[in-house]
């Protein structure tokens, strides 16, 4: 049935159409593989091109350090795609710190790194960042966003796992099959189920552990199964939790189109014996065990399990069967443990995991979005129906990276090292030629990434030398990422937590009540807050006792102060003409604008830090 009458372009008048690729024999030859419209990659490429206009760039030698580089640069060489040079040391140290640890390098570290002549210094820098407290906090925050949890004990548990570089398959096995008999606060892994638990209660009143009326058990199981599959397998099976794929996902996902709702039920049945009970306020005293009958959709009494958030179920009892392979639990095996074992052994688990980390470190994942894998479109050698293209930006590298992760015992440290020590990761944003959309899937340059909410918040506090005073399980902490919630609570009064929360939300920090978006968008709200939020304007004040106060007290000269502020805020030395403008600002007594009154040097220093915090260079990870 024809359903369209009208096409309305909702965009400003100066909209440009997508560029038509030039007739190029190499492009045509690889039409099937590399001309796919990877939206996020193209968007990232254009964003970066806007931020960093191309100019004369000295190409220099880009060594191939590992199999990542072989894949990335090999493809580019074959397809005659130009690529960026390596990033400068200044660019690299800031980027590595932010990506790995979510903070800026302290000024003395920047000076040291830039002066260091050791040819291994970049490798050593990466090594020194992995497994630190800040690394654990940055990446725990990431997994807590993904798993939509604010449970403090879970956040502590994850931080420990990351600091110890615990094999990731073991961590995920524990999350899928926690030894669940006690409350969320003592069995941390139960924190991964905070949202499904909340969404499937009928109310939050006092109840007792024999009162099952308020818990929608099968919906809870379904939602938990969906989360496990989305996050650890990259498969969004939410669609088939309501209906068969055929007739629904035909234009979206070839694999899901073959799947039936009964296969979703069989996947969910791995959690079928799980039941959650309440005692007291449900979130603080939950009890879970494996005493339910199973995934019995006809009559799941005594639980209240009519499908509340999806179409009514089919009334049958479903036995566990793994969605990718059909594998079943062994005789007598606890089905949740079976799922943990089966899932983490699958190569898809490794693919989904490396894809997530790659997407954060390289701004664009092999597969976007992270839970949108189409299993039928991963193999570049497999013929596809008309109109469909292979899905990953680089299917060979995705496969190699996944296997490498598995072979190295699922070590996160090894994965990070492999990526961050490659030349591919270390390319500059500067590009030696005119950028074209078709270069996007090649990772031919570093893509800029808008900082995440907690990164902005923590770097703001760090640059101004004015740490926070937040409450984390009774302990005072100074960085947002040291807490377990995107709505941090302050210890002293004041509007700091609210102001920080507003900034974080403007930078796409979710409340963790909805699935995480890896957003990469600027917005006017971000600009307004960075210009005028008290979280920023209070922090640059000299009277606050932070970096500006110390600069004033220290009696440093103008040029020393300017250098210090650039190092603190942008992790680099000022360029000569920047230093000149800054010097003039510090010295001026009047403004040429009649309605502007100029204060003293202290005010000028405050302004200078405000300026630097409001540049794209600060707000972007480049």
């Amino acid at each position: 049935m024809l359903t369209f009458l009208l096409v309305i372009a909702i965009s400003a008048a100066a909209q440009s159409q997508e560029p038509k690729p030039a007739a190029d024999p190499f492009e045509n030859a690889h039409e099937g593989l590399f001309q796919q419209k990877t939206d996020r990659a193209i968007e990232a490429g254009r964003t970066t091109a806007a931020f960093q206009p191309s100019g004369t760039v000295v190409q220099g030698n880009v060594p191939r350090r590992n199999f990542i580089d072989e894949q990335i640069f090999g493809r580019m060489e074959r397809d005659k795609v130009p690529h960026a040079p390596l990033a400068t040391d200044e660019e690299f140290i800031r980027r590595a710190y932010i990506d790995a640890a979510g903070i800026q390098p302290p000024p003395e570290k920047v000076r040291e790194f830039l002066a260091n002549k050791d040819p291994q210094k970049r490798d050593k820098l990466v090594d020194s960042l992995l497994g630190t407290q800040e690394f654990a906090e940055q990446w725990t925050w990431f997994w807590m966003d993904l798993l939509q949890s604010r449970v403090e004990s879970f956040s502590f548990w994850l931080k420990t796992a990351l600091k110890l570089d615990r094999p990731w398959n073991e961590v995920v096995s524990d999350i899928i099959a926690p030894a669940a008999t006690k409350s969320q606060t003592t069995i941390p892994e139960l924190g991964a189920y905070e949202m499904p638990l909340y969404n499937n209660l009928s109310a939050q009143t006092l109840t007792d552990k024999d009162n099952y009326r308020l818990m929608n058990r099968l919906d809870l199981i379904d939602e938990s199964s969906i989360n496990i599959s989305r996050i650890f397998l990259g498969l969004n099976i939410e669609c088939i939790s309501c209906h068969n794929g055929a007739g629904h996902t035909d234009t979206v996902n070839l694999y899901l189109t073959e799947k039936r709702r009964s296969e979703f039920a069989a996947q969910a049945a791995f959690l079928g014996k799980w039941r959650w009970l309440g005692d007291g306020m449900l979130f603080f005293n939950v009890f879970a065990d494996d005493e339910a009958k199973g995934y019995t959709t006809g009559n799941d009494a005594p639980y209240s399990t009519a499908a509340a958030a999806r179409f009514p179920r089919d009334g049958r009892t479903h036995e566990p069967s793994f969605i990718l392979t059909g594998e079943k639990p062994r005789p007598g095996e606890n089905p949740r443990k079976a799922l943990a074992r089966i899932l983490t052994s699958e190569l898809q688990f490794s693919r989904a995991t490396v894809n997530l980390i790659w997407a954060r470190l390289m701004t664009v994942g092999f597969v976007e979005p992270y839970d949108g894998f189409d299993m039928n479109r991963l193999d570049p050698n497999k013929p596809l129906p008309n109109g469909w293209k292979v899905q990953p930006t680089n299917p060979w590298l995705l496969e190699a990276l996944a296997k490498d992760f598995k072979e190295h015992n699922y070590s996160m440290n090894h994965l990070f090292k492999t990526i961050m020590q490659s030349s591919a990761y270390q390319l500059s944003t500067r590009f030696p030629a005119e950028w074209k959309d078709q270069y996007a899937p090649y990772y031919a340059r570093r893509y800029v990434r808008v900082l995440s909410g907690p990164e902005v918040a923590d770097m703001l506090a760090q640059a101004t030398g004015r740490p926070y005073n937040f409450n984390n399980a009774g302990e005072p902490v100074q960085r947002v990422k040291q807490t377990s919630t995107p709505s941090p609570r302050g210890r002293a009064g004041g509007s700091d937590p609210l102001a920080v929360r507003a900034i974080m939300q403007a930078f796409a920090q979710s409340t963790r009540e909805t699935p995480m978006v890896l957003a990469n968008n600027a917005s006017a709200v971000q600009a307004m807050l960075m210009m005028s939020s008290p979280a920023v304007t209070d922090r640059v004040q000299a009277k606050g006792g932070g970096a500006i106060a110390k600069l004033v007290e220290s009696g440093k000269s103008n040029s020393e102060a300017i250098e210090e502020l650039f190092l603190r805020t942008l992790s680099r030395f000022p360029k000569p003409d920047e230093a000149e403008v800054a010097e003039r600002i510090l010295n001026e007594k009047t403004s040429k604008l009649s309605y502007v009154t100029v204060g003293d040097r202290i005010q000028a220093l405050e302004d200078l830090q405000w300026l630097l915090l409001n540049t794209p260079e600060f707000l972007l990870n480049h």
């Binding site: 206009p53 100019g55 109310a203 929360r501 210009m531």
Partner: protein, 474 residues
């Protein structure tokens, strides 16, 4: 605008070009190419009776049986003083003292047959922010419905407009937080004002303004040399900076500072000590300013599930929060807002601002017809009530009917057998604003069509009607 100030801000042509660039190109667009929006084959006639709209979210879930669908039951506290307004409507004078006496009552209509899909606050709030039930599978790309309104009304923006078309208050403090523009271009993102901050920061502190102006001028000087990395600066000026220019324009518009200047009399009339009062004043000021904002979303929420969430001691006056207190806050803020809109002239001759502004007030769901063991009321989603006024709504109508204790709907009040859900109120917003609510967008990131009003929310084996509540307009 001050001539000198114009020197600081790039000239209008360049500004439009930059805004055009940011919408179309590099730094902002979550999608490639223009949105492919399709109208459906069946013709719809949006009412087009409203220029503006206000959405009032009563967070926590107000209890209908004691408030807007008043029924005397054995659980009704004895001190509610119900007043008969007309044959069909009683209102408690204890809970809504200002409203029962206000002239603006004759502009208001109630829809008593609402039902909700959700039973918990987060999903309920999400539904009110986005106009649809939560589907985690595609939640990442779903916009709040204010974004859709901003996108649709974008072509009507005038050169003098600086405010974003969609603004909100205190949504940052709700459980849902800012849902954001989803896959829509980021330029349509709503601007949320946190009332605990904005009055202090922007409310007439002359110093703050001078600081901003001085710093802006210095920022421009620095950025001229910072971004001059290559000869190719010219056109490829820093797109990111366009956002700064856009935001700076808002901050420096004299109408902006005025938003936060509140007379003592107004503070008293609106109940400024409560966040809801602070929000209601902003809604009035924003629309009065007529600076480009056409849709305002306000809430009484200050965090958590919402002030109305009285699972215990709902009518215990010794508790710091109870229905008396929360209803009184809404009463004062909302009634005064409606009265002020009514006494402000609108755009067209002979019209008031209330004539041109559709106001809808609603909770995420209702509360139980009976009290629980903690002398409170739990969530109930089978029936609850919405309030509508202005923007073409014929006042004094009561649509829909419930039984003696509000537990069942006995008359849906409109053309369909199914009870209306919040999606139909969003359709009503769209229709009143002249927006074709049957549109859908095809090139979303997931590939799944985004229908402005979904025809089949999750869980319902029948399909909900996607119509607006036109019955209140004719």
């Amino acid at each position: 605008m001050n001539k000198n100030l114009e020197a600081l801000i790039s000239n209008r042509r360049e500004m439009l070009k930059w805004l055009g660039l940011t919408a179309a190109g590099s730094i902002a667009v979550p999608m490639i190419g223009p949105l492919r929006v399709f109208g459906q084959q069946r013709k719809v006639n949006p009412l087009g009776t409203a220029r503006n709209a206000i959405m009032v979210k009563l967070s926590g879930a107000q209890c209908p049986v004691d408030t807007w669908d008043f029924k005397e039951t054995r659980y009704t506290p004895p001190d509610l003083q119900p007043r008969g307004i007309n044959a069909d409507l009683q209102l408690s004078e204890t809970l809504y003292p200002k409203l029962v006496k206000s002239k603006v009552l004759e502009r208001i209509s109630f829809l008593r047959s609402m039902h909700a899909r959700e039973l918990v606050h987060f999903t309920g709030h999400y539904h009110l922010h986005t106009g649809r039930a939560l589907n985690p599978g595609v939640a990442k790309e779903i916009p709040d419905f204010g974004t859709v309104i901003a996108a649709e009304l974008d072509s009507q923006r005038r050169d003098s407009d600086t405010f974003p078309a969609y603004m909100s208050t205190n949504l940052v403090r709700t459980r849902t937080g800012i849902v954001g523009p989803g896959f829509f271009p980021a330029k349509f993102t709503g601007l949320d004002l946190d009332t605990s901050i904005v009055y202090n920061v922007f409310g007439g502190k002359g110093d703050a303004d001078a600081d901003l102006v001085r710093r802006w001028e210095r920022l421009r000087r620095l950025s001229e040399v910072s971004s001059a990395d290559a000869a190719a600066l010219g056109d490829k000026a820093n797109d990111y900076f366009a956002y700064y220019d856009y935001s700076y324009r808002i901050l420096r518009d004299p109408r902006w500072a005025k938003l936060f200047q509140v007379s003592d009399e107004d503070k008293q009339r609106y109940g400024f000590d409560s966040p809801f009062g602070q929000c209601a004043i902003l809604a009035r000021n924003i629309l009065k300013a007529d600076a480009g904002c056409r849709f305002v979303f306000i809430t009484n929420s200050t965090g958590g599930n919402g002030p109305f969430d009285h699972h215990a001691f709902i009518y215990d006056r010794t508790k710091p929060s109870n229905h008396y207190i929360e209803c009184n806050r809404i009463d004062v803020g909302l009634t005064t807002l409606l009265e002020d809109l009514e006494s402000t002239p609108g755009h067209a001759a002979g019209k008031t601002l209330l004539d041109e502004t559709l106001v809808i007030a609603i909770s995420e769901f209702g509360r139980m017809p009976y009290l629980n063991s903690a002398a409170g009321r739990d969530h109930y989603n089978k029936t609850y009530t919405a309030m509508l006024a202005g923007g073409g709504v014929k006042g004094g109508r009561i649509l829909g009917k419930t039984n003696a204790d509000c537990s069942e709907c006995i008359d849906t009040g409109w053309a369909h057998k199914q009870q209306p859900v919040f999606d139909n109120l969003v359709a009503t917003f769209y229709s009143a604003l002249g927006i074709d609510w049957k549109k859908k967008v095809k090139n979303t990131p997931s590939g799944r069509d985004y229908e402005y009003i979904q025809s089949a929310p999750l869980g319902e084996s029948a399909f909900i009607p996607t119509d607006p509540i036109t019955e209140l307009f004719v």
